[in-house]
Protein backbone atom coordinates (compact mmCIF):
# COMPACT_ATOMS: atom_id res chain seq x y z
CA UNK A 1 0.00 0.00 0.00
CA UNK A 2 1.16 3.50 -0.80
CA UNK A 3 2.38 5.53 2.18
CA UNK A 4 2.61 8.94 0.53
CA UNK A 5 0.57 11.06 2.92
CA UNK A 6 3.43 12.45 5.03
CA UNK A 7 5.43 13.47 1.97
CA UNK A 8 2.31 14.87 0.30
CA UNK A 9 1.50 17.00 3.35
CA UNK A 10 5.08 18.18 3.65
CA UNK A 11 5.26 19.20 -0.02
CA UNK A 12 1.93 20.99 0.11
CA UNK A 13 3.24 22.73 3.21
CA UNK A 14 6.41 23.91 1.53
CA UNK A 15 4.50 25.08 -1.56
CA UNK A 16 2.15 27.18 0.54
CA UNK A 17 4.59 28.25 3.26
CA UNK A 18 6.95 29.66 0.66
CA UNK A 19 5.67 32.14 -1.92
CA UNK A 20 5.95 29.59 -4.76
CA UNK A 21 2.34 28.42 -4.76
CA UNK A 22 0.95 31.95 -4.47
CA UNK A 23 3.14 33.32 -7.24
CA UNK A 24 2.34 30.42 -9.54
CA UNK A 25 -1.39 30.60 -8.87
CA UNK A 26 -1.48 34.40 -9.22
CA UNK A 27 0.42 34.41 -12.50
CA UNK A 28 -1.72 31.60 -13.80
CA UNK A 29 -4.91 33.49 -13.00
CA UNK A 30 -3.66 36.83 -14.35
CA UNK A 31 -2.68 35.20 -17.65
CA UNK A 32 -5.79 33.06 -17.99
CA UNK A 33 -7.95 36.03 -16.99
CA UNK A 34 -6.38 38.19 -19.66
CA UNK A 35 -6.71 35.47 -22.30
CA UNK A 36 -10.30 34.93 -21.31
CA UNK A 37 -11.08 38.63 -21.47
CA UNK A 38 -9.54 38.87 -24.95
CA UNK A 39 -11.49 35.91 -26.27
CA UNK A 40 -14.74 37.26 -24.85
CA UNK A 41 -14.04 40.72 -26.27
CA UNK A 42 -13.14 39.26 -29.65
CA UNK A 43 -16.19 37.02 -29.66
CA UNK A 44 -18.52 39.91 -28.89
CA UNK A 45 -16.90 41.95 -31.66
CA UNK A 46 -17.53 39.11 -34.12
CA UNK A 47 -21.12 38.86 -32.82
CA UNK A 48 -21.66 42.57 -33.46
CA UNK A 49 -20.43 42.17 -37.01
CA UNK A 50 -22.61 39.09 -37.43
CA UNK A 51 -25.67 41.16 -36.56
CA UNK A 52 -25.06 43.23 -39.68
CA UNK A 53 -24.15 40.23 -41.82
CA UNK A 54 -26.68 37.37 -41.56
CA UNK A 55 -24.36 34.97 -43.43
CA UNK A 56 -21.86 34.99 -40.58
CA UNK A 57 -24.37 33.96 -37.95
CA UNK A 58 -24.44 30.33 -39.04
CA UNK A 59 -20.68 30.06 -38.38
CA UNK A 60 -20.96 31.57 -34.93
CA UNK A 61 -20.71 29.03 -32.14
CA UNK A 62 -19.85 29.58 -28.46
CA UNK A 63 -18.00 26.29 -28.07
CA UNK A 64 -15.80 26.85 -31.08
CA UNK A 65 -15.49 30.59 -30.78
CA UNK A 66 -14.95 30.94 -27.04
CA UNK A 67 -14.55 27.70 -25.08
CA UNK A 68 -12.11 25.97 -27.40
CA UNK A 69 -9.62 28.88 -27.58
CA UNK A 70 -10.01 29.35 -23.83
CA UNK A 71 -8.87 25.80 -23.08
CA UNK A 72 -6.09 25.98 -25.65
CA UNK A 73 -4.80 29.14 -23.95
CA UNK A 74 -4.88 27.57 -20.50
CA UNK A 75 -2.95 24.64 -21.94
CA UNK A 76 -0.20 27.03 -23.02
CA UNK A 77 -0.12 28.71 -19.62
CA UNK A 78 0.16 25.29 -18.00
CA UNK A 79 3.17 24.57 -20.19
CA UNK A 80 4.81 27.79 -18.96
CA UNK A 81 3.95 27.39 -15.30
CA UNK A 82 4.34 23.68 -14.56
CA UNK A 83 8.15 23.60 -14.99
CA UNK A 84 8.31 26.21 -12.21
CA UNK A 85 6.23 23.97 -10.00
CA UNK A 86 8.12 20.76 -10.57
CA UNK A 87 11.69 22.07 -10.78
CA UNK A 88 12.26 22.00 -7.04
CA UNK A 89 10.75 18.62 -6.23
CA UNK A 90 13.92 16.54 -6.32
CA UNK A 91 16.56 19.06 -7.36
CA UNK A 92 16.13 21.12 -4.18
CA UNK A 93 16.38 18.08 -1.92
CA UNK A 94 19.54 17.00 -3.67
CA UNK A 95 21.13 20.41 -3.57
CA UNK A 96 20.39 21.04 0.09
CA UNK A 97 21.31 17.50 1.11
CA UNK A 98 17.92 16.65 2.59
CA UNK A 99 17.76 13.56 0.33
CA UNK A 100 20.10 11.81 2.69
CA UNK A 101 17.57 11.75 5.50
CA UNK A 102 14.64 11.36 3.12
CA UNK A 103 16.06 8.16 1.67
CA UNK A 104 16.83 6.72 5.09
CA UNK A 105 13.27 7.07 6.33
CA UNK A 106 11.15 3.92 6.10
CA UNK A 107 9.58 4.93 2.79
CA UNK A 108 9.75 3.33 -0.61
CA UNK A 109 10.84 5.38 -3.61
CA UNK A 110 7.28 5.10 -4.88
CA UNK A 111 5.87 6.65 -1.67
CA UNK A 112 8.18 9.64 -1.98
CA UNK A 113 7.58 10.07 -5.70
CA UNK A 114 3.79 9.87 -5.54
CA UNK A 115 3.63 12.22 -2.55
CA UNK A 116 5.53 14.83 -4.54
CA UNK A 117 3.52 14.15 -7.71
CA UNK A 118 0.17 14.61 -5.99
CA UNK A 119 1.31 17.74 -4.18
CA UNK A 120 2.37 19.39 -7.44
CA UNK A 121 -0.91 18.26 -9.00
CA UNK A 122 -2.91 19.96 -6.26
CA UNK A 123 -1.04 23.25 -6.71
CA UNK A 124 -1.68 23.01 -10.46
CA UNK A 125 -5.36 22.16 -10.05
CA UNK A 126 -6.13 25.07 -7.71
CA UNK A 127 -5.94 27.80 -10.39
CA UNK A 128 -7.53 25.44 -12.93
CA UNK A 129 -10.49 25.09 -10.59
CA UNK A 130 -10.65 28.86 -10.12
CA UNK A 131 -10.97 29.37 -13.88
CA UNK A 132 -14.39 27.72 -13.58
CA UNK A 133 -15.50 31.14 -12.32
CA UNK A 134 -15.07 32.48 -15.86
CA UNK A 135 -17.31 29.76 -17.23
CA UNK A 136 -19.93 30.37 -14.53
CA UNK A 137 -19.78 34.07 -15.39
CA UNK A 138 -20.50 33.37 -19.06
CA UNK A 139 -23.29 30.97 -18.13
CA UNK A 140 -25.11 33.74 -16.25
CA UNK A 141 -25.22 35.67 -19.56
CA UNK A 142 -26.02 32.97 -22.03
CA UNK A 143 -26.80 29.32 -22.62
CA UNK A 144 -23.62 27.22 -22.63
CA UNK A 145 -23.39 23.47 -23.31
CA UNK A 146 -21.80 21.82 -20.25
CA UNK A 147 -20.38 18.74 -22.02
CA UNK A 148 -17.54 20.41 -23.95
CA UNK A 149 -16.55 22.29 -20.81
CA UNK A 150 -16.21 19.12 -18.77
CA UNK A 151 -14.26 17.53 -21.60
CA UNK A 152 -11.95 20.55 -21.66
CA UNK A 153 -11.29 20.31 -17.94
CA UNK A 154 -10.66 16.58 -18.20
CA UNK A 155 -8.14 17.37 -20.93
CA UNK A 156 -6.44 19.98 -18.73
CA UNK A 157 -6.27 17.50 -15.86
CA UNK A 158 -4.76 14.72 -17.98
CA UNK A 159 -2.37 17.00 -19.82
CA UNK A 160 -1.30 18.74 -16.61
CA UNK A 161 -0.49 15.41 -14.94
CA UNK A 162 1.60 14.44 -17.95
CA UNK A 163 3.50 17.75 -17.76
CA UNK A 164 4.05 17.33 -14.02
CA UNK A 165 5.33 13.78 -14.47
CA UNK A 166 7.83 14.97 -17.07
CA UNK A 167 8.86 17.84 -14.80
CA UNK A 168 9.46 15.52 -11.84
CA UNK A 169 11.49 13.20 -14.02
CA UNK A 170 13.75 16.05 -15.15
CA UNK A 171 14.01 17.37 -11.60
CA UNK A 172 15.23 13.95 -10.43
CA UNK A 173 18.10 14.01 -12.90
CA UNK A 174 19.75 17.25 -11.74
CA UNK A 175 20.41 19.15 -8.56
CA UNK A 176 20.03 22.52 -10.20
CA UNK A 177 16.49 23.85 -10.18
CA UNK A 178 16.99 26.26 -13.05
CA UNK A 179 18.37 23.53 -15.28
CA UNK A 180 15.40 21.35 -14.34
CA UNK A 181 12.96 24.14 -15.25
CA UNK A 182 14.61 24.98 -18.56
CA UNK A 183 14.91 21.38 -19.74
CA UNK A 184 11.31 20.66 -18.74
CA UNK A 185 10.05 23.73 -20.53
CA UNK A 186 12.18 22.99 -23.58
CA UNK A 187 10.93 19.41 -23.83
CA UNK A 188 7.32 20.46 -23.34
CA UNK A 189 7.60 23.09 -26.03
CA UNK A 190 9.31 20.65 -28.36
CA UNK A 191 6.61 18.04 -27.81
CA UNK A 192 4.01 20.79 -28.27
CA UNK A 193 5.24 21.78 -31.73
CA UNK A 194 6.67 18.47 -32.86
CA UNK A 195 3.68 17.99 -35.17
CA UNK A 196 4.85 20.90 -37.32
CA UNK A 197 7.51 18.71 -38.86
CA UNK A 198 4.88 16.14 -39.77
CA UNK A 199 4.01 17.97 -43.01
CA UNK A 200 7.35 17.36 -44.64
CA UNK A 201 8.73 14.17 -43.10
CA UNK A 202 6.77 11.64 -45.11
CA UNK A 203 3.58 9.79 -44.30
CA UNK A 204 4.82 7.23 -41.76
CA UNK A 205 7.24 9.35 -39.75
CA UNK A 206 4.89 12.30 -40.03
CA UNK A 207 2.10 10.33 -38.44
CA UNK A 208 4.38 9.26 -35.60
CA UNK A 209 5.40 12.87 -34.96
CA UNK A 210 1.79 13.94 -35.04
CA UNK A 211 0.80 11.36 -32.48
CA UNK A 212 3.69 12.40 -30.22
CA UNK A 213 2.51 15.97 -30.19
CA UNK A 214 1.16 17.00 -26.82
CA UNK A 215 -1.12 19.65 -28.28
CA UNK A 216 -2.70 17.43 -30.92
CA UNK A 217 -4.17 15.18 -28.25
CA UNK A 218 -5.38 18.17 -26.35
CA UNK A 219 -7.16 19.70 -29.38
CA UNK A 220 -9.88 17.09 -29.21
CA UNK A 221 -10.56 17.79 -25.53
CA UNK A 222 -10.75 21.52 -26.02
CA UNK A 223 -13.28 20.94 -28.82
CA UNK A 224 -15.36 18.88 -26.43
CA UNK A 225 -14.39 15.45 -27.77
CA UNK A 226 -13.21 12.78 -25.38
CA UNK A 227 -11.33 10.22 -27.44
CA UNK A 228 -10.08 7.16 -25.59
CA UNK A 229 -6.91 7.36 -27.69
CA UNK A 230 -6.05 10.78 -26.22
CA UNK A 231 -6.84 9.67 -22.67
CA UNK A 232 -4.57 6.66 -23.06
CA UNK A 233 -1.82 8.84 -24.56
CA UNK A 234 -1.69 11.17 -21.56
CA UNK A 235 -1.97 8.36 -19.03
CA UNK A 236 0.82 6.40 -20.67
CA UNK A 237 2.97 9.50 -20.91
CA UNK A 238 2.44 10.16 -17.18
CA UNK A 239 3.13 6.59 -16.09
CA UNK A 240 6.19 6.32 -18.26
CA UNK A 241 7.72 9.51 -16.84
CA UNK A 242 6.98 8.38 -13.27
CA UNK A 243 8.50 5.01 -14.02
CA UNK A 244 11.64 6.66 -15.36
CA UNK A 245 11.84 8.84 -12.26
CA UNK A 246 11.72 5.77 -10.05
CA UNK A 247 14.55 4.26 -12.04
CA UNK A 248 16.62 7.43 -11.73
CA UNK A 249 16.17 7.56 -7.95
CA UNK A 250 17.12 3.90 -7.71
CA UNK A 251 20.20 4.27 -9.88
CA UNK A 252 21.40 7.32 -7.95
CA UNK A 253 21.55 5.06 -4.96
CA UNK A 254 23.60 2.23 -6.28
CA UNK A 255 25.86 4.63 -8.08
CA UNK A 256 26.38 6.41 -4.76
Amino acid sequence: MLNSTPIFKKEIGSYFLSPIAYVVITMFLILSGYFFYSSVAYYSLISMQAMQNPYMVSGLNLTEGLISPFFANIGIIAMLIIPMLTMRLFAEEKKSGTVELLFTYPLRDMDILMGKFFAASVVYLVPIAVTAVYIIFIRTLTELPIGPILAGYLGLLLMGEAFIALGIFISSTTENQIIAAIITFGLLLLLWVIGWAANFTGPVFGKILNELSLVRHFDNFSKGVIDIKDVVFYLLFTFYCLFLTCRVIESKRWRG
Binding site: K9, T98, T104, R253, W254, R255
Partner: protein, 314 residues
Protein backbone atom coordinates in the same frame (compact mmCIF):
# COMPACT_ATOMS: atom_id res chain seq x y z
CA UNK B 1 21.85 -6.33 16.71
CA UNK B 2 24.03 -5.26 13.80
CA UNK B 3 26.04 -7.69 11.73
CA UNK B 4 28.32 -6.50 8.99
CA UNK B 5 30.14 -9.07 6.92
CA UNK B 6 32.80 -8.37 4.31
CA UNK B 7 31.27 -5.02 3.45
CA UNK B 8 32.81 -3.33 0.43
CA UNK B 9 31.58 -0.09 -1.10
CA UNK B 10 32.97 1.27 -4.34
CA UNK B 11 32.21 4.55 -6.06
CA UNK B 12 33.15 3.72 -9.61
CA UNK B 13 36.77 2.63 -9.32
CA UNK B 14 37.35 4.27 -5.97
CA UNK B 15 37.10 1.91 -3.04
CA UNK B 16 35.62 3.80 -0.11
CA UNK B 17 35.31 0.84 2.22
CA UNK B 18 36.97 -2.50 1.78
CA UNK B 19 36.06 -5.80 3.35
CA UNK B 20 34.84 -4.57 6.70
CA UNK B 21 33.30 -7.00 9.18
CA UNK B 22 32.07 -6.35 12.68
CA UNK B 23 29.09 -6.94 14.92
CA UNK B 24 27.44 -4.72 17.48
CA UNK B 25 25.52 -6.06 20.46
CA UNK B 26 22.19 -4.71 21.63
CA UNK B 27 22.58 -1.72 23.91
CA UNK B 28 26.21 -1.16 23.03
CA UNK B 29 27.75 2.23 22.23
CA UNK B 30 30.27 1.82 19.45
CA UNK B 31 32.66 4.56 18.39
CA UNK B 32 33.90 5.02 14.87
CA UNK B 33 37.24 6.69 14.71
CA UNK B 34 39.27 7.65 11.70
CA UNK B 35 40.77 10.48 9.71
CA UNK B 36 38.80 12.32 7.05
CA UNK B 37 37.92 10.15 4.08
CA UNK B 38 38.56 6.94 5.98
CA UNK B 39 35.15 5.51 5.15
CA UNK B 40 33.23 6.26 8.34
CA UNK B 41 30.38 8.09 6.65
CA UNK B 42 30.24 5.55 3.82
CA UNK B 43 29.87 2.69 6.28
CA UNK B 44 27.16 4.57 8.13
CA UNK B 45 25.29 5.39 4.94
CA UNK B 46 25.28 1.73 3.95
CA UNK B 47 23.98 0.84 7.40
CA UNK B 48 21.13 3.34 7.13
CA UNK B 49 20.12 2.05 3.72
CA UNK B 50 20.97 5.30 1.97
CA UNK B 51 22.83 3.28 -0.60
CA UNK B 52 23.36 -0.46 -0.94
CA UNK B 53 26.71 -2.19 -0.37
CA UNK B 54 28.73 -3.16 -3.43
CA UNK B 55 29.60 -6.44 -1.77
CA UNK B 56 28.96 -8.11 1.54
CA UNK B 57 25.95 -8.32 3.80
CA UNK B 58 24.56 -5.93 6.39
CA UNK B 59 21.98 -7.17 8.85
CA UNK B 60 20.14 -5.09 11.41
CA UNK B 61 17.99 -6.97 13.94
CA UNK B 62 18.21 -9.97 11.64
CA UNK B 63 16.91 -8.13 8.57
CA UNK B 64 19.15 -7.93 5.53
CA UNK B 65 19.42 -4.34 4.32
CA UNK B 66 19.21 -5.24 0.63
CA UNK B 67 16.29 -7.64 1.02
CA UNK B 68 14.17 -5.89 3.67
CA UNK B 69 15.20 -2.22 3.54
CA UNK B 70 11.97 -0.96 5.10
CA UNK B 71 12.27 -3.23 8.13
CA UNK B 72 15.82 -2.02 8.66
CA UNK B 73 15.02 1.65 8.13
CA UNK B 74 12.17 1.46 10.63
CA UNK B 75 14.64 0.35 13.29
CA UNK B 76 17.27 2.99 12.59
CA UNK B 77 17.45 6.61 13.61
CA UNK B 78 20.07 8.55 11.69
CA UNK B 79 21.80 11.84 12.29
CA UNK B 80 23.82 12.68 9.17
CA UNK B 81 27.10 14.54 9.22
CA UNK B 82 25.80 17.70 7.58
CA UNK B 83 22.46 17.91 9.28
CA UNK B 84 20.44 19.00 6.25
CA UNK B 85 16.88 19.65 7.39
CA UNK B 86 13.98 21.34 5.62
CA UNK B 87 14.87 24.95 6.28
CA UNK B 88 11.44 26.43 5.64
CA UNK B 89 9.65 24.25 8.19
CA UNK B 90 9.00 24.93 11.84
CA UNK B 91 10.79 22.61 14.26
CA UNK B 92 7.60 21.06 15.61
CA UNK B 93 6.04 20.63 12.16
CA UNK B 94 9.22 19.00 10.90
CA UNK B 95 9.29 16.58 13.81
CA UNK B 96 5.62 15.75 13.25
CA UNK B 97 6.43 15.04 9.61
CA UNK B 98 9.24 12.70 10.61
CA UNK B 99 6.95 11.02 13.15
CA UNK B 100 4.35 10.36 10.46
CA UNK B 101 7.02 9.07 8.12
CA UNK B 102 8.18 6.72 10.84
CA UNK B 103 4.68 5.34 10.93
CA UNK B 104 3.11 7.01 13.97
CA UNK B 105 -0.48 7.26 12.80
CA UNK B 106 -2.51 8.41 15.80
CA UNK B 107 -2.27 12.14 16.40
CA UNK B 108 -2.32 11.84 20.21
CA UNK B 109 0.61 9.43 20.12
CA UNK B 110 2.41 11.61 17.58
CA UNK B 111 2.01 14.68 19.76
CA UNK B 112 3.24 12.83 22.81
CA UNK B 113 6.30 11.36 21.07
CA UNK B 114 7.23 14.67 19.46
CA UNK B 115 6.88 16.36 22.86
CA UNK B 116 9.10 13.66 24.32
CA UNK B 117 11.99 14.11 21.93
CA UNK B 118 11.70 17.90 22.11
CA UNK B 119 12.11 17.73 25.85
CA UNK B 120 14.89 15.17 25.66
CA UNK B 121 16.94 17.25 23.25
CA UNK B 122 16.24 20.52 25.02
CA UNK B 123 14.63 22.35 22.11
CA UNK B 124 11.38 23.30 23.83
CA UNK B 125 12.02 27.04 23.42
CA UNK B 126 12.77 26.61 19.73
CA UNK B 127 9.86 24.43 18.67
CA UNK B 128 7.91 27.23 16.98
CA UNK B 129 10.97 28.58 15.18
CA UNK B 130 11.78 28.03 11.53
CA UNK B 131 14.64 25.55 11.18
CA UNK B 132 16.58 27.74 8.75
CA UNK B 133 16.81 30.44 11.41
CA UNK B 134 18.26 28.19 14.10
CA UNK B 135 21.90 28.20 15.15
CA UNK B 136 24.08 25.23 14.23
CA UNK B 137 23.88 23.81 17.73
CA UNK B 138 20.11 23.84 17.80
CA UNK B 139 19.89 22.44 14.30
CA UNK B 140 22.12 19.60 15.48
CA UNK B 141 19.71 18.96 18.32
CA UNK B 142 16.72 18.99 16.00
CA UNK B 143 18.65 16.45 13.93
CA UNK B 144 19.12 14.30 17.00
CA UNK B 145 15.45 14.71 17.91
CA UNK B 146 14.32 13.49 14.51
CA UNK B 147 16.68 10.50 14.81
CA UNK B 148 15.01 9.55 18.10
CA UNK B 149 11.47 9.68 16.69
CA UNK B 150 9.76 6.38 16.11
CA UNK B 151 11.72 4.88 19.00
CA UNK B 152 14.40 3.23 16.84
CA UNK B 153 16.42 0.38 18.30
CA UNK B 154 19.57 1.55 16.57
CA UNK B 155 20.94 5.09 16.48
CA UNK B 156 23.55 6.06 13.95
CA UNK B 157 25.12 9.41 14.69
CA UNK B 158 27.66 10.88 12.30
CA UNK B 159 29.79 13.32 14.29
CA UNK B 160 27.03 14.33 16.69
CA UNK B 161 29.00 16.92 18.64
CA UNK B 162 30.52 18.90 15.78
CA UNK B 163 29.67 22.58 15.91
CA UNK B 164 28.30 22.59 19.42
CA UNK B 165 29.53 24.78 22.24
CA UNK B 166 31.30 23.05 25.16
CA UNK B 167 28.20 23.07 27.35
CA UNK B 168 26.07 21.56 24.62
CA UNK B 169 28.74 18.95 23.93
CA UNK B 170 28.60 17.81 27.53
CA UNK B 171 24.81 17.65 27.38
CA UNK B 172 24.71 15.71 24.13
CA UNK B 173 27.32 13.27 25.39
CA UNK B 174 25.26 12.72 28.50
CA UNK B 175 22.20 12.15 26.35
CA UNK B 176 24.01 9.64 24.15
CA UNK B 177 25.24 7.79 27.23
CA UNK B 178 21.70 7.63 28.52
CA UNK B 179 20.48 6.31 25.19
CA UNK B 180 23.02 3.50 25.19
CA UNK B 181 21.73 0.55 27.17
CA UNK B 182 18.20 0.88 25.85
CA UNK B 183 19.39 1.46 22.31
CA UNK B 184 22.32 0.43 20.19
CA UNK B 185 24.37 3.47 19.27
CA UNK B 186 27.03 3.84 16.59
CA UNK B 187 28.73 7.21 16.48
CA UNK B 188 31.62 8.58 14.55
CA UNK B 189 33.86 11.32 15.76
CA UNK B 190 37.16 13.10 15.37
CA UNK B 191 37.35 13.93 19.04
CA UNK B 192 39.27 11.18 20.77
CA UNK B 193 38.49 11.90 24.41
CA UNK B 194 34.85 11.69 23.40
CA UNK B 195 35.30 8.06 22.42
CA UNK B 196 37.02 7.31 25.69
CA UNK B 197 34.19 9.03 27.55
CA UNK B 198 31.13 7.48 25.95
CA UNK B 199 32.01 4.45 23.88
CA UNK B 200 32.18 0.90 25.11
CA UNK B 201 33.99 -0.24 22.00
CA UNK B 202 36.01 1.55 19.35
CA UNK B 203 36.60 0.79 15.71
CA UNK B 204 39.54 2.63 14.24
CA UNK B 205 39.09 2.81 10.52
CA UNK B 206 41.65 4.03 8.02
CA UNK B 207 41.65 4.03 4.22
CA UNK B 208 38.51 1.95 4.16
CA UNK B 209 39.87 -0.80 6.35
CA UNK B 210 39.51 -1.59 10.02
CA UNK B 211 42.76 -0.83 11.81
CA UNK B 212 41.59 -1.96 15.23
CA UNK B 213 38.49 -2.97 17.18
CA UNK B 214 38.51 -3.04 20.96
CA UNK B 215 37.43 -1.29 24.12
CA UNK B 216 39.17 2.05 24.65
CA UNK B 217 40.97 0.64 27.70
CA UNK B 218 42.17 -2.45 25.90
CA UNK B 219 43.37 -0.38 23.01
CA UNK B 220 45.36 1.68 25.43
CA UNK B 221 46.87 -1.41 26.97
CA UNK B 222 47.45 -3.43 23.83
CA UNK B 223 49.04 -0.70 21.90
CA UNK B 224 51.32 0.63 24.54
CA UNK B 225 54.14 -1.74 23.73
CA UNK B 226 56.06 -0.03 26.47
CA UNK B 227 55.29 1.55 29.78
CA UNK B 228 56.75 4.94 30.49
CA UNK B 229 57.56 5.97 34.04
CA UNK B 230 58.33 9.57 34.81
CA UNK B 231 60.61 10.20 37.77
CA UNK B 232 61.89 13.34 39.43
CA UNK B 233 65.09 12.79 41.35
CA UNK B 234 67.66 15.03 43.04
CA UNK B 235 71.35 14.13 42.65
CA UNK B 236 74.15 13.56 40.19
CA UNK B 237 72.55 12.85 36.80
CA UNK B 238 75.16 10.35 35.65
CA UNK B 239 74.84 8.36 38.82
CA UNK B 240 71.06 8.44 38.57
CA UNK B 241 71.09 7.15 35.02
CA UNK B 242 73.44 4.32 35.85
CA UNK B 243 71.39 3.35 38.92
CA UNK B 244 68.14 3.33 36.98
CA UNK B 245 69.60 1.44 34.06
CA UNK B 246 70.69 -1.32 36.37
CA UNK B 247 67.15 -2.05 37.46
CA UNK B 248 65.79 -5.21 35.83
CA UNK B 249 63.21 -4.46 33.14
CA UNK B 250 64.40 -0.98 32.22
CA UNK B 251 64.90 -0.48 28.51
CA UNK B 252 65.97 3.10 28.30
CA UNK B 253 66.50 6.15 30.50
CA UNK B 254 66.21 9.65 29.14
CA UNK B 255 66.80 12.86 31.01
CA UNK B 256 63.98 15.27 30.32
CA UNK B 257 64.72 18.27 32.53
CA UNK B 258 67.84 19.65 34.11
CA UNK B 259 68.14 21.70 37.31
CA UNK B 260 68.34 20.72 40.94
CA UNK B 261 65.55 18.22 40.62
CA UNK B 262 65.99 16.33 37.38
CA UNK B 263 63.25 14.65 35.46
CA UNK B 264 63.83 11.29 33.83
CA UNK B 265 61.72 9.28 31.48
CA UNK B 266 62.21 5.60 32.13
CA UNK B 267 60.94 3.30 29.43
CA UNK B 268 60.19 -0.18 30.72
CA UNK B 269 58.79 -3.41 29.43
CA UNK B 270 55.04 -3.47 29.92
CA UNK B 271 54.74 -7.05 31.17
CA UNK B 272 56.03 -6.25 34.64
CA UNK B 273 55.33 -3.35 36.95
CA UNK B 274 58.75 -2.26 38.17
CA UNK B 275 57.82 1.01 39.85
CA UNK B 276 58.54 -0.60 43.23
CA UNK B 277 62.04 -1.70 42.10
CA UNK B 278 62.78 1.73 40.70
CA UNK B 279 61.89 3.45 43.95
CA UNK B 280 63.91 0.96 45.95
CA UNK B 281 66.99 1.49 43.76
CA UNK B 282 66.74 5.25 44.26
CA UNK B 283 66.51 4.95 48.03
CA UNK B 284 69.29 2.39 48.31
CA UNK B 285 71.65 4.77 46.52
CA UNK B 286 70.79 7.70 48.84
CA UNK B 287 69.07 9.71 46.14
CA UNK B 288 66.02 11.83 46.82
CA UNK B 289 62.84 10.88 44.99
CA UNK B 290 60.34 13.68 44.41
CA UNK B 291 57.91 12.07 42.04
CA UNK B 292 57.21 8.76 40.37
CA UNK B 293 54.31 8.19 38.00
CA UNK B 294 53.41 6.20 34.92
CA UNK B 295 52.66 8.03 31.77
CA UNK B 296 49.86 6.47 29.76
CA UNK B 297 49.69 6.80 26.06
CA UNK B 298 46.56 8.72 25.20
CA UNK B 299 44.11 7.39 22.68
CA UNK B 300 45.25 10.23 20.50
CA UNK B 301 48.75 8.83 20.31
CA UNK B 302 47.47 5.32 19.70
CA UNK B 303 45.25 6.64 16.96
CA UNK B 304 48.09 8.46 15.29
CA UNK B 305 50.30 5.44 15.67
CA UNK B 306 47.76 3.08 14.11
CA UNK B 307 46.92 5.40 11.29
CA UNK B 308 50.51 6.18 10.44
CA UNK B 309 51.46 2.54 10.71
CA UNK B 310 48.76 1.70 8.21
CA UNK B 311 50.10 4.33 5.90
CA UNK B 312 53.55 2.78 6.08
CA UNK B 313 52.10 -0.51 4.93
CA UNK B 314 50.36 1.15 2.04
Amino acid sequence: MIEIQNLTKRYGHIKAVENISFTVQKGEILGFLGPNGAGKTTTMRVLTGYFPPTEGTVKVAGFNITEKPLDVKKRIGYLPENVALYKDMRVVDYLKFVGRVEGIKRSAKLKQQVGNVIERCGIGDMQKRIIGKLSKGYRQRVGLAQALLGEPEVLILDEPTVGLDPKQIVEIRKLIKELGGERTVILSTHILPEVQMICERVIIINEGKIAAIDTPDNLNRQLSKQLVVLMEIEGDPQKIVSVLENVDGVMEVKQKRKGKVKQFEVITRPDKDIRKDLAQAVFENQLTLYELRTVEMSLEEIFLKLVTREEHHA
